[in-house]
Assembly symmetry: C2
Homo-oligomer: 196 residues x 2
DNA sequence: TTTATATGAATGAACAATCATTCATATAAA
DNA sequence: TTTATATGAATGATTGTTCATTCATATAAA
């Protein structure tokens, strides 16, 4: 019987796997390397996890739970939907900035995951996207956003814009724009458009 | 000495690899499966390609070249920068629609590639992004786009928005919105904003 | 207290399967 | 014949997973 969530070692392995997956990607990452990083024996990993896949799934759920809680805390304080979107952008980019390992995993492995784990629906990620969709709907109800905006398209477009910006940061070691500027630019496009 | 580009078999292998990589991802894809799909022997692949990595790189260059040429042909006809952005969005989404295999590879493997092929800079992809950046700059020069828009941020945000929408389509077999509507929505956000 | 016994977490060497790549050989072309 | 192209079985390195064993700690008996 696996102890899982409560064990200190469980979290040490998650943390190590996050680092190793982020650096090399899922397939090239070796169990032995994760074990070494976590300072446990190879076999110990199989006391806490069923398989290599299971590590990745568990890792998603742990990390996304944190990200989601963080974001909800930030935006629920605000009233104005436009301010909420701005805050969402800033918080998202700050998260990437503060934890590049998580960023790489969300960006690269999240996309992979749908391939090799067909049955695995990333519930947390859907919730994360829906935060944006809900802000849009709220804005429409309050009359501050256009009625003909489709929340299902808008949420993906907004997330995609932030995500692509993040990817650029993660890949290029040096960042060309500061977080606040980028967040303001991106939320600005959505709120006001680029037309003069 | 490899014959490469001119040979009919070369293209058959590229086409087969596109299909197999799209379905399973790069690492889980087997050379033997690509060979079978292309109806050649395993060893034949090594007459035309140096390695599995080389297949992926060649595939990128072939496919992106086509995508790029296509896009340039579409937008160079137009004068108005706003119309160009709209056309870009539509053309991009149509491309995805028409060729999901290429879409999956661009989306998933392109991201992976920067990990396992550190030295490989995807020049074509950079050019593709720059098409957007150039439209933005042109619009600013003509005075139709705001001066304080940062083209380097805007191009990524715009591409990211389209790309995320594409990903959703590729993953969910059934599409909820038609191409024209989605393209209009997304370019609409950027041009006019969502604020009422 | 001291000794004996039980538990199960942790270990890491060994296993078994996978798969990219090679190469001896065959076939077709020049 | 000589050269180029194609084949697919064989190779050998890699690596996820297993499992017999160890060991620290807990519990019970003397």
């Amino acid at each position: 019987m696996r102890k899982r969530k409560n064990s200190e070692k469980y979290h040490r392995i998650i943390k190590a796997a996050t680092k190793v997956f982020a650096k090399k990607g899922f397939y090239p990452a070796k169990i032995s390397e994760i074990a070494k990083e976590a300072q446990v024996a190879d076999g110990t990993i199989y006391i806490y996890f069923e398989s290599k896949d299971d590590i990745l799934i568990s890792l998603f759920e742990e990390q996304m739970k944190t990200v989601l809680e963080n974001m909800v805390a930030q935006i629920s304080k605000l009233k104005d939907p436009a301010e909420k979107l701005e805050k969402f952008a800033l918080t998202h980019l700050q998260l990437i900035e503060q934890n590049k390992d998580i960023a790489e995993i969300i960006q690269v492995e999240l996309r992979q995951s749908s391939k090799f784990m067909k049955e695995y629906k990333n519930e947390q990620f859907i919730q994360y996207l829906d935060l944006i969709g809900d802000i849009v709907k709220e804005g429409q109800k309050k009359g501050v956003f256009k009625k003909d905006i489709m929340p299902g398209v808008a949420k993906r477009a907004f997330f995609g814009a932030l995500d692509e910006m993040s990817r650029f940061w993660v890949l290029s070691s040096r960042k060309r724009y500061d977080i606040e500027t980028a967040a303001k630019q991106i939320s600005g496009y959505f709120l006001k458009g680029i037309t003069a």
